[in-house]
Each structure stands twice: as structure tokens, then as C-alpha cells.
């Protein structure tokens, strides 16, 4: 019995599959410490986006909107093909168009990259999230937002090395691509991959996708793209959404895809040392004061001092009265 779908193409072989991606398949859970090892290990899955095959038709965006039942607004044209203009709680994936003149050939290349959650093995969003169970990672690699646990703080936005999550202004919860976890759990591939007419988006086990990428890279190299390669950045432990890029030596030309993404050192410090040391210092300070309060000697005012004060007041009054009389 299969635990993960092997393809997203139309009419996949129908095989019985036990519903998965339940709590017992979680390997990481935000703000919850280390989880016990799950009873079963699901086969890691991945979506492979072959940028060289993508024709920018936006069928993936359309399928994503339909499946997730979102409602992006009808915006304006601002002189670009990238519409809507950014990811949002209503648009989990976005074709980003870049007109790039290759300095080596002086030829124009129109780079079209499908942006969206990369499903990092080491997810920065999950690391940053303060709310227990709002972000989870399943053993097949999918990083999912559990909206009922989301508090809308936006820490995931800051934690993400790819600038993906968006907070809804309507319900104040974070949204992003789920890798169609609700479909994958039932044996179906993601909606975008199913809709892609050229199979620029393919889906399967991560291993299969890497093999498929090798074939694609060989083809691209034969067409003169010497630096073609697979984008599976090690800085975030690899990703479960990968790209085949014609120019893998410079990912940034693809609408600012990070060259070497990793969770920001600032976030690491914030969610690492600061979190633990800060709590320790505060705890020690509080405990110290309590102990001192219990066992230390309080700073008390003595009767004698009260007396001295009384005397001083009286003296001052007398002095004042005397002056008044003198006057």
C-alpha cells in the first residue's frame, strides 16, 4: 500500500491509500519542543518546477485558486505580466516574470518562475512561529499551516528565507502553499502540477524528482545551458519544492530567488540564544529576588528614624514660626 502519491498527472493509477498527514505523521510542530519519532515514516515527496519548460500560462495559479477556493481581487495592470502583483492570502503561488538579457549571448531571456512555498526541510517559518502547532512538518516533508492555531503575529513571514507566507487582513491568519496536503493525504498530487499543460510542474517522491531533474538538466546542457542545475538549497536542509534552472549558478536572476538561502542568523539568534538565555536570566532574577525576599534582610525604617523625622519636622516648624514672629 502506498503512503504518498507518485504523480500529479491526470488519471493517475488509483491505488488504495490510507489517509495520512494526521497528527501522528508530524515530525516538527511549532513552539512544541521535540516530538517523539513518528510510528511510520512517509515517503518524502517533492514538487519539481522545471523553469525551462514553463510557458507562464498561469494554469497553476488558476488551479490553485480553484482548489483552495480563494478569491484574489481583480487588480490593475502596472506594466507587468505578474498578476496578482504579489503572493497573498488569496494567491499561494505566483508566476514571476523577469526580462533578462544574457550578457554572454546578448539574447533576451524571459525567465518565468513559479513562486510559492519551498517546503524547506529546515523551515524558518516553523522555527519562528510562537504558537504551538500552528506550523507543522509531516514526515513526507510537507510544511503546513494549521490555521486554527495561528495567532496572526507574522513571525513566520520574518522566519521564511523565501518571503512566502502572507497574513490575511480578513481573518489574521497566515497563508501559503500547502503542497496540497489535503490532496496528497488522499493520494492525489498538487492541483498546480495536475493543471500544468507542459508538465513543467511534476510531483512524486523526492528521489524520483531528483532523477527526473537529472534528465532535464542533461537535456538543457545539450542545448548549451552549461550551468543548468537543480535548485535544492542545502542551507535549509533541501526543499520539497525544487527548481530546474537553466542558470543554476545565479538563482537571483529568477525574480530574486535566493542564491544560498538559510534561516537568517538574526532569526536563529532571536529564536535560539535569546529565547533560552532571556528566559533563564528573567527566571533567575525573579527567583533571586524571591530568595532574597525570603531569606535576606529587609530594609526597614527604624523607630529611631521615625523619631528623628518627627523632631526634624518640629524643629522646622518652630523655626518657621520664629521667623514669622520676627517678621
Amino acid at each position: 500500500m502506498m503512503d504518498s502519491p507518485r504523480t500529479a498527472v491526470s488519471n493517475p493509477p488509483v491505488q488504495p491509500m490510507e489517509t495520512n498527514l494526521t497528527a501522528k505523521d508530524m515530525i516538527k510542530r511549532s513552539a512544541s519542543g521535540d516530538l517523539p519519532a513518528p510510528e511510520r515514516q512517509l515517503t518524502p515527496v517533492a514538487k519539481l518546477i522545471d523553469v525551462s519548460k514553463c510557458i507562464g500560462c498561469k494554469a497553476c495559479q488558476s488551479a490553485c485558486i480553484e482548489w483552495n477556493d480563494t478569491n484574489p481581487e481583480v487588480g490593475e495592470n502596472i506594466g507587468v505580466y505578474t498578476n496578482p502583483h504579489d503572493l497573498s492570502e488569496n494567491m499561494f503561488t505566483l508566476m514571476r516574470f523577469t526580462e533578462w538579457v544574457n550578457p554572454e549571448t546578448d539574447n533576451l531571456e524571459w525567465l518565468i518562475r513559479k513562486d510559492g512555498c519551498m517546503h524547506c526541510s529546515d523551515p524558518g517559518c516553523l522555527k519562528a512561529c510562537p504558537s504551538p502547532g500552528a506550523i507543522v512538518q509531516y514526515s513526507n516533508g510537507i510544511v503546513d499551516f494549521i490555521h486554527e492555531n495561528c495567532i496572526g503575529c507574522g513571525y513566520c513571514v520574518k522566519g521564511c528565507p523565501f518571503n512566502i507566507p502572507r497574513i490575511s487582513k480578513a481573518d489574521h491568519r497566515a497563508y501559503k502553499c500547502t503542497l496540497c496536503s489535503d490532496r496528497v493525504a488522499m493520494g492525489q498530487g498538487p492541483a498546480c502540477a495536475k493543471a500544468c499543460p507542459t508538465q513543467a510542474i511534476v510531483f512524486g517522491t523526492k528521489e524520483d524528482m531528483k532523477k527526473h531533474a537529472e534528465e532535464r538538466i542533461a537535456d538543457l546542457k545539450s542545448r548549451g545551458y552549461a550551468n543548468a542545475g537543480l535548485y535544492d538549497p542545502p542551507g535549509v536542509g533541501g526543499t520539497h519544492v525544487m527548481y530546474v534552472l537553466h542558470h543554476n549558478d545565479k538563482p537571483h536572476i529568477y525574480a530574486d530567488l535566493p542564491d544560498n538561502p538559510s534561516i537568517s542568523a538574526v532569526v536563529q539568534t532571536w529564536k535560539g540564544a535569546t529565547k533560552y538565555a532571556g528566559l533563564a536570566v528573567m527566571g533567575l532574577a525573579a527567583a533571586g529576588t524571591i530568595l532574597h525576599g525570603l531569606f535576606g534582610k529587609a530594609n526597614r525604617v527604624s523607630k529611631h528614624e521615625e523619631q528623628e523625622a518627627q523632631e526634624a519636622v518640629e524643629e522646622a516648624v518652630d523655626h518657621a514660626d520664629k521667623r514669622a514672629e520676627d517678621a
Binding site: 510562537p130 504558537s131 496572526g152 518640629e314 522646622a316
Partner: protein, 232 residues
Amino acid sequence: MSASPKVAAKIGGEDTIHRGPPVEVVRYGPGKRINHWVTAISLILLLISGLAMFHPSLFFLTELFGGGQNTRWIHPWIGVVLFFSFFILFAQLWKLNIPNRDDVKWASQIGDVINGHEERLPELGKYNAGQKFIFWGMASLIIVLISTGIIAWEQYFGHLTSIPTQRIALLIHSLAAVAIILIFILHVYAAIWTRGTISAMTRGTVTGGWAWRHHRKWFKDMAGRGKIDPAE
């Protein structure tokens, strides 16, 4: 006996001495006390809500606000309240908190402070160096917290700055929060440890002995200027 025209302070006025016996000194008027408590309650709520979002083990504190979503939206608004409340207080107190030579001596003899040998310390005005440290520490950290807090306030300002900026803001915000909490602990504990202090913020008065012991210069100054209300 007729009252001296110099003894003009009205009953209950700040920085006046009740002749007693027993002698009582009015340290804070009702305005400042309300101001203080608004600030204090805000700070406590911020501390609780902030800690809830700071460390997972404290996330349960969100329940006090009716859940994580409420905690998330209420925290920055309380911050805004604290900011204004504190700075009204600040405007009234900053002059008295300007450090002077005595503060240096006081601070250098911190051991005597802790061991209660106040007789070895210089006579002090209304605030000692410790209180001034808390005052300036609070003031500067609140500035830091409100500015970094606004940068990180996703709902209204999330789009205004870059994500790397927001990350730095959040890191600074947490460090500043830790610092302000330490100062807060110090402040509260000092108030408890120094017996007789709390009434200054509850009833507004301290005993004559308290003022004599801890802030003799202040006491003498009031007495010297005749800020003493008439005997009954």
C-alpha cells in the same frame, strides 16, 4: 497659631509633610499615582502577553487574553497605551532624575545600600541612583520597544519595511523586553525590599522615618522650605 504664608501647600499636596504625629510625607499626588498604575498595569500586561509569544512554555498565558489571536492584537495596542502613559510620567519626573555627584557616590557604595547601611551614604534627594537608573532604563527601553514593535506590527506596518529589517527589529524587541523585565523585577523588588515604599504609590504617602532614612535631603528640603501642613 496662625499659619505661615510660606506653608502654603494644600492638604495632600505633593512633596509636603504632615506634621503628625506621626509624621507623614506626601510623595505622590493622585495624578501621578494613576499615571503610574496605568503604566504599571500596561507593562504587566505587555510582559505577560509578550512572554506568551516569546517562549512556547509560556504560551498558556495567552489564555488570560482569550487566546492567541487576542493576545496578538492586544499586545501592540497596550504598548501604545504604555508609551503615552509612561511619557506623561516622564515629562513630570525627568528633571528630578538627572544624575548628580551624590548618585555616583551612592552607586559606588552599592554594598552599603544592600546591607542597609544608609548612614554611610550621602543624604539623597527625592530619588536615589537606583531609582534614576530604573527611570532612565525604562524610558530608553520603552523607546526601543515601541519603535521595534511598530516595525514588527504586521497588521498595520508589515508592508513598510523589509523583512531583514523586521527580523532585526524583532531580535532587538526581545532583547529589550528581557532587559525591561529585569528592570521591572528590580523596581518591584526594590519597592518590596525597601519596606514602607509601596504606600507611596497606593496612598501617596510615606512615613517621615522612611523619607528621613532614604531621602533625607528631599525631606530636609521640604521641611526647610516649610512645606509642612498645619497641625490639627
